[in-house]
Symmetry: C2
Subunit: 363 residues, 2 copies
């Protein structure tokens, strides 16, 4: 394991090393069956146990109220940009309301227009998405709105909602892909929560969808079978062949999170890790933080350099120090350190030290 680096990838992201070792160890022979977990039918009891364990661990870790269903669906978070309106538009007057705090919200709202009306309650574009703008919750019409949608954490800019709006009877839909299990959330405030698995929940290709049960059964007639929440729920997430590997990895990741002390511990660690980097940024004239201090993410820390041409040098030298994948998203530029649950504090300490050294040499 000596040759594993500190991986700051925004996603697919670093997974806990003990989880990776366990996958490797049992990859050719799962529990003495003589076959790999990726070579068995998703209908066998041995897989059903994994699926059930993943669900119940998730329920336990987030304290999910009983009236919420846990679904696994193909395609990650972006498939939900379509699935949310397909499943929720019909519950009221076919209008979805969007809080737009970055690229993912923009894409989600655009996709929803296929299936009904949309309303933009707030858009942070004028701030280049460096902050979460003010909004007037009074604009949210309780009688004519099918749902309200937001992105809890914005990976590209490194911003997040510190607290969530109260939407009354309008179900609040949250894309929590990049901070699920990194912060405590009161799920009873939400109608739907979804997340691609490839950051804090494991590997890519699949999404976790949490739905309050009274919202099931409103799918539009044009909803593809495998995107219909009620049907996925009835079939216990296996109407067809599920991404067996992703569910298996998620179960191992959740066990690891539990061993670490659960979500409260992950939240504390995320604050500690991001705090170390924000301290470097705040004390520097050399680095420029992207996110407004009041809206800073604890999972994605983003920054530019006093001279943008220093970026390539920074990335090359970081690579040599075993600090991997620090390049920012193409649409924002600069650098980004993603600090999901699997990133140990030591990795961030090494990065913080490296950043100070780099400033000293190049500042």
């Amino acid at each position: 394991m000596t040759n594993r680096v500190y991986n700051f990838s925004a996603g697919p992201a670093m997974l806990p090393t003990p989880v990776m070792q366990k996958i490797q160890e049992e990859f050719l022979n799962y529990q003495g069956l003589g076959v790999s977990i990726v070579e068995i039918s998703h209908r066998l009891p041995v897989f059903r146990e994994i699926l059930d364990a993943a669900e119940s661990l998730f329920r336990e870790l987030v304290g999910l109220p009983k009236n919420y269903r846990v679904l696994f669906m193909h395609g990650g978070a972006q498939m939900q940009f379509s699935a949310v309106p397909l499943n929720l538009m019909a519950r009221s007057t076919h209008k979805g309301s969007y809080f737009i705090t970055g690229r993912w919200g923009t894409l989600a709202e655009k996709e929803a227009r296929r299936y009904g009306k949309t309303e933009v309650l707030m858009d942070g574009k004028e701030f280049d998405y460096r902050q979460i703008p003010e909004y007037d919750i009074g604009r949210l019409d309780q009688d004519t709105t099918s749902y309200a949608h937001l992105t809890s954490n914005n990976t590209l800019y490194g911003t997040r909602w510190q607290t969530f709006p109260q939407t009354g009877n309008v179900p609040l839909v949250v894309d929590a892909t990049s901070d699920i299990l990194s912060r405590e959330m009161n799920y009873s405030l939400f109608g739907v929560v979804y997340a691609g698995l490839q950051k804090n929940l494991g590997t890519s290709g699949t999404g976790l969808v949490i739905v309050r049960e009274d919202l099931l059964g409103n799918a539009l007639p044009e909803t593809p079978k495998l995107m219909n929440y009620a049907l996925i729920d009835e079939q216990h997430s296996i109407p067809n062949t599920i991404n067996v590997f992703a569910v298996y990895v998620m179960r191992l990741v959740l066990e690891w999170v539990k061993e670490q002390g659960g979500v409260p511990e992950m939240e504390k660690l995320a604050e500690q890790k991001s705090g170390l980097l924000y301290e470097v940024l705040d004390q520097s004239e050399f680095y420029r933080a992207v996110a407004h201090p009041e809206h800073r993410s604890t999972t994605n820390v983003t920054f530019h350099f006093s001279h943008e041409k220093l970026l390539e040098k920074f990335l090359a030298e970081a690579d040599k120090e075993g600090l991997f994948a620090l390049k920012g998203h193409a649409s924002v530029g600069g650098a980004r350190a993603s600090l999901y649950n699997a990133m140990p504090l030591e990795g961030v300490e090494v990065l913080a030290q490296f950043m100070k050294e780099f400033e000293r040499k190049n500042g």
Copy 2:
């Protein structure tokens, strides 16, 4: 590796042992990067190389004409039951024609009704899908049919189309999930070919979709973004985070197929393997083959027992001999041996011998 069994699972299915070993070996550290292939961004050149290699190997192995595009899509074959009508209905009078030879065809036709008219050109239900019925291709109206759809091999019953119908100007859409790369096919006869990856192409959760380029661009307005062929094509299969693991495994599987001698060799092997089992069935009064001899599959061999209660005994004893997952599909009953490319001839020899012994003892 001594404890790997012969795995006859219908899917997710056995993968070649050298492929499994390679995945295991490099799982914690891909090509010296210090990270796993499942922990890197799908936008990095190192992953793009894998995606490109998977595509070009597939093109080479099946001799794909240049005017076909290769797409990776979320969700496996069943997602295509929706995607096919969503993408093709609008090219003519919104009518899809279905040849129904089993469960998958039935589900595909049912799903298509959401998006237009459907026509059933043939249905093998009266034969309990034990054979591919006669059909009158003259019924296929060249002027009013958006596409014609068939399932090339029927995993549940162990039947297959030996040759494919000539559909003229109507694009023929083929669900080839369970025989892709196990038989030579002339792709220029087809408009679309799709397959879940979890049988002959690797692991579950993702589909391979081959589309003739003139068919792109007809998607219905309600097509979810991630199901739109033209958009997936423009974005080179990564409009969003792709199932990185599945593409990586597929590339390794395709390299293995090439090393084995390619599709002609896989076809020969499939005929040899299935031939061994059909010989046992044909010489027996004890076993009853499900499929009509003229329509037998070379990848799924299905049979019942003279007394159905012998099934549990058969499965238990087979398990002890290291012959895994021989239970038939719940809707057909009996036993099923799936003989995809990764199943070595030796495994089938052991099974054939076991079947003869079991008959001798229980017949």
